[in-house]
Amino acid sequence: SQTIHQWPATLVQPVGSPLSLECTVEGTSNPNLYWYRQAAGRGLQLLFYSVGIGQISSEVPQNLSASRPQDRQFILSSKKLLLSDSGFYLCAWGVGEQYFGPGTRLTVT
């Protein structure tokens, strides 16, 4: 069966510091991968999606970037965090319906 992992589960970072969130999927090959952000009390905003290694599509201009160095690994990064980057970050995989990881709660102070 397929499993999706995200880490860390929670993160508190100061403004201006770098960020790296990791997502890995097990039990499937060549999945579409997605990064979403969920602000408090709001819906999901698609940030990036990838249909293959090295293929990244950005949905919203922002302070973040994504990379897919391996088939089942998806990384969300920032060089300098802003206060507005705080939120709940969700990774998902799918080739039809999407399946979500447990999320990372990021607080930028």
Partner: protein, 116 residues
């Protein structure tokens, strides 16, 4: 581009009562529709999906949804809610065209509170 509207931000229902959550979508092609549930601090769990065929779809946890093309709706229902159904519910429409394959648009969510 697709869009999803969940008109109800918050719904309170008594345990044992029926529940219906509304979802309206806008999409020019054949819609692929989904309902997800999210407990606090958790990821989203897929409840059910509609791709084609029977317009009444059965899902997990006793939920069902009905696709009505004429009304552009995909409402979620449960005949008798349990306290464990308290959560936030998201409707989503997926695009599976060449230039946007697999992209989802989510609604803003409906928070369900279950009272004793």
């Amino acid at each position: 581009a697709q869009s999803v509207t969940q008109p109800d931000i918050h719904i309170t229902v008594s345990e044992g009562a029926s529940l219906e959550l509304r979802c309206n979508y806008s999409y020019g092609a054949t819609p692929y529709l989904f309902w997800y549930v999210q407990s606090p601090g958790q990821g989203l769990q897929l409840l059910l999906k509609y791709f084609s065929g029977d317009t009444l779809v059965q899902g997990i946890k006793g939920f069902e949804a009905e696709f009505k093309r004429s009304q552009s709706s995909f409402n979620l229902r449960k005949p008798s809610v349990h306290w464990s159904d308290a959560a936030e519910y998201f409707c989503a429409v997926g695009a599976f065209e060449t230039d946007s394959w697999g992209k989802f648009q989510f609604g803003a969510g409906t928070q369900v509170v279950v009272t004793p």
